[in-house]
């Protein structure tokens, strides 16, 4: 990257992370091309366009000063809460659940944006909290309230996956903010009690079924266990080197459901085998290490919590999706960032990347 040919701002970009990430996206496009039966349209080309657009967005985002992030944190959070209520209201009026707002030129999914924004607002909250108070209830109750409102609204949609993602990001920020460790141990114990209760009383039938199916997918091979079983067949039959590009019978003959969205990893694994899988996992781990490294090097509390929290948000996508396709987690509709077709999740993740890049810039050139 050296030499004076390349302008300074471009040279400053974190290429060690961006290059593998771009390769991962290109790889994703290849898989989508194959999943579409060897056609660029509609998925592969859109995937690349999306990535280019959101990468530009991330680069712009990376140039914004820290005070701007701090300033918009609460207002942005407020706007999203309003939008979530709006989505819920429109859904009720329209007679059915809805997650999208049609803005005319694009559809907006407020719950998706809430994933990075909850981290932002949490980081903002703990940044402004006097250190002494982190040990008291005042460190937890407001944060709990900040989390509860959007989590509840998203659960109402109902969108368990997104609600979990929001909670996960927020809880990790609380953890990293230094609140007493026994709160987490106690919380974990409480969750162990509440989880079964929630399973029986809070979950919808279809969600409950997914959990049961996860526990024993083969019991209902042609019904709900179908997704997990077919995904495992795709990954398992791929072997080490895969069946070769375009030879994945599971995806091409439509045995694998959602082969271009949630189960894109299985589509990839069938044709590229274990080697392709290792590549994908390695790129993700590289990105997470990059994010956590920036968090650890960051100059102030807000930056640290923000970078670590956003890394965790991306990690959550990866962890849940990959566990799901390999039969380690129930079927939850969460896509694999940078691989799955779909702009929303890519936008969220590139917002995370851009913000972490901003944190990186703050630690090098000041806020």
């Amino acid at each position: 990257m050296g030499g004076g040919l390349i302008p300074e701002p471009l040279r400053r970009l974190p290429w060690r992370m961006l290059l593998p990430l771009a390769l991962l996206n290109l790889f994703g496009s290849t898989v989508l091309w194959s999943a579409a039966g060897g056609r660029m349209w509609p998925w592969a080309i859109m995937h690349m366009v999306h990535f280019a657009v959101f990468l530009a967005m991330a680069v712009v985002l990376a140039r914004l000063p820290q005070h701007l992030f701090k300033q918009v944190a609460y207002p942005l959070y407020g706007v999203l809460i309003v939008l979530l209520v709006l989505v819920e209201a429109i859904g009720k009026v329209g007679g059915g659940s809805q997650r999208w707002l049609n803005l005319g030129f694009m559809t907006l999914q407020p719950s998706e944006l809430m994933k990075p924004v909850i981290v932002l607002v949490m980081a903002r909250f703990y940044d402004s909290l006097p250190p002494a108070m982190t040990q008291s209830w005042r460190a937890l109750v407001p944060a709990g309230a900040l989390l509860a409102v959007p989590a509840a609204l998203v659960m109402l949609q109902p969108d368990l996956g997104t609600a979990l993602a929001i909670c996960f990001g927020a809880v990790v920020v609380v953890f990293l903010a230094g609140v007493p460790i026994w709160w987490f141990i106690g919380g974990g114990a409480a969750a162990a009690v509440i989880a079964p209760l929630a399973f029986f009383f809070a979950l919808h039938d279809y969600q409950r079924k997914r959990v049961l199916v996860f526990l024993d997918p083969e019991a209902d091979m042609l019904g709900s266990g179908y997704h997990i079983t077919q995904s495992k067949i795709a990954i398992g039959s791929g072997g080490i080197f895969g069946k070769g590009l375009g030879n994945g019978s599971q995806s091409h003959l439509q045995y694998l459901p959602e082969s271009h969205t949630d189960f894109v990893f299985a589509t990839m694994a069938e044709e590229w085998g274990l080697l392709g899988g290792i590549f994908v996992i390695a790129v993700f781990l590289l990105v997470f290490r990059w994010g956590m490294g920036i968090a650890q090097r960051a100059p102030d509390r807000f930056s640290r919590l923000l970078a670590a929290g956003l890394t965790t948000t991306m990690f959550f996508y990866f962890a849940i999706n990959m566990s799901m396709v390999m039969g380690l987690a129930p079927v939850v509709g969460i896509p694999l960032p940078f691989m799955s077709h779909g702009g929303s999740s890519l936008m969220t993740n590139m917002l995370c990347i851009g913000t972490i890049m901003a944190v990186d810039r703050w630690s090098r050139v000041g806020r």
Partner: protein, 690 residues
Amino acid sequence: MARRTTRTTSGTLANSFDRRSIVVGALQGGLGLLLATRMGWIAIAENNRYRTMAESNRVNLTLIPPRRGWILDRHGEPIASNRADFRVDLIPERLIDVDRTIDELAPLIGLDAIKVQDIKDKLEDARGFQPVEAGSHLDEEKFAAVSVRMPDLPGVVPQRSFARQYPTGPSVGHLVGYVGPASGADYEKEHNPLLITPGFKIGKDGLEKHFDAVLRGVPGARRVEVTAGGRIVRDLETREDIPGKPIKLTIDGALQDYAARRIGLESASVVVIDCHTGGILALVSMPSFDPNSFADGVGRLEWKMLQEDDHVPLLNKAVRGLYPPGSTMKPMATLALQQHGVDPEERVNCPGGYRLGSRYFRCDAAHGSVDMRSAVEHSCNTYFWSMAHRVGYDAIAPVGRMLGLGQQFDLPISGQRKGIVPDAAWKMRRYHQAWSMADSLNASIGQGYVAVSPLQLAVMTARIATGRTLQPSLMFGQPAPAGPTLPFTPEQFAVPRDGMFRVVNGSGTGVGSKIVIGDVRMAGKTGTAQVRALTSRGTVGEWKTRDHSLFICFAPTDAPRYAMSVVVEHGTFGARAAAPIAKDVMTFLFDPRTAWDSLLALEKEWGGTPAQRMAAKFRTYAARYGTSAPKVGPEEALEAAMDRAPAPAAEQPNQDVITPVDTPHGAASPSPTPAATAEPAAPASPTEPH
């Protein structure tokens, strides 16, 4: 502890962040490793298992039903063959909306309301995997129309296959049976995926059922790549089926067809046996069902038609019908009498009846002085009564059995009924009554308790004609070895043969059926079996109460080649219904052209061939009942109907005659007389004891 007491500063928080972020980072890396390991496990350790599963997803193996072995007649002409066919099946399990699918399908393949109703009936009874035939014998255009719509019609399977074809239809129905889709019970017996392959049929009755294992063959297989939705992407590999082996029968297909058609509107059976080998040349029972239409399953109207027909078309009367043989017993009886020392030249005076104790048994006429031959010729009862009285009936029954009466033969035909050749022990066992002389007199002229099948009559005739213990056989080239030598001299055999010759060619009861083809002559014996003693002679009145008409014969008389029995249910006396049929069938064997001429003339009066008449009847039913006929019972009901005991009239032969003949007061019992007698004669009133 220390930390909680000390003041928390931003410095301690930064420390805490460092430690905790390392934990978070480690968890991330740890999960990454876990996922990689998990993937390695699935992709390497379990690779074989999942590869097999992916392959079984991708590849669909469909069985190709094997072409069924042909059934050939003795000349190699097909009695049952196959022809290429376009058909459409429904798989109940895959149908999403049954009514909508059928409504869409009906106009495509031209199903009328009656057919639609039958298909819905069958779908109701079928289990999930069991294919139901929606249409067969489709033309290419209709077939293409369905094939094109396949993606919109899940559960509808159009395919090319082979359909069973019986060129002579109803003529061979009872002989060969029919084929049909396997029932749930069949599948439970034999868990073979072939049984639920659309288009595959198994033998349901008759020879088709008996030789199913031989005829079935080995299915072919077609491996295709399919999508999850069932759409075929491409063919991978096809293995041809191995057709079933043909079976060759002793049956003469043309003769079988001719005899069946010659029966016309009667309810009758004809059995013809080859006197050289014992091979059965024709085994006919009419009316029958059309095995061609049974192959598609039995619909409501067809079922109603078969059920309501008092001619019992579902019963194979040739082997399952039992009738009192009447006077056709007399030639056999002459052998028994000679064996017990009766001189054939001895004369008996027939004054028109026979006195036994206080009771008088009437003959059909006053025959005057008769010897053994003329007693057969004129069917004189008095002669046989007086002789039976002398030698005892116990001398006659064993000869009847020796000649095939009351016997079951080793034939691939299920449900042969043995019938009854009674004797004292039998009566004691069955009725706890002693055998009486009146029983002897009744039995000696083939009445009373005697009940035999048309097949047995034909065998008896063949044995009298040849003097050998011929065993009937049905498989060509595999004649059954003859039984023990019959204990009669050629001179003794000459008596019944002469008598039978004179029946037809002399001044006997069957002269109307004489044939003159070159030097070929026929010998025969008429018989009339009383169904009810209530009426004086069952020649008039309701069909069900009329006498059965029988005729046995063989030809040529000098060197017997063919032996035949004809039994016409309720055909009145033997010479009227049975003998003319026998004459024409025998003529067919020597002079087919003449025989066809007389048959074609007759069929004009009858309204066409059996198949044409059945079709006309079906149209009448369709117009009258439409879709209002009651639902057909399960398939088991049909099979039960074909296996069940014969028609009431034949089931309890002459029940009324089997009244104790010794009843002192005739008035108490309507018929003390052994009422069935010889023929032809003026109606005789039941004779009161004098």
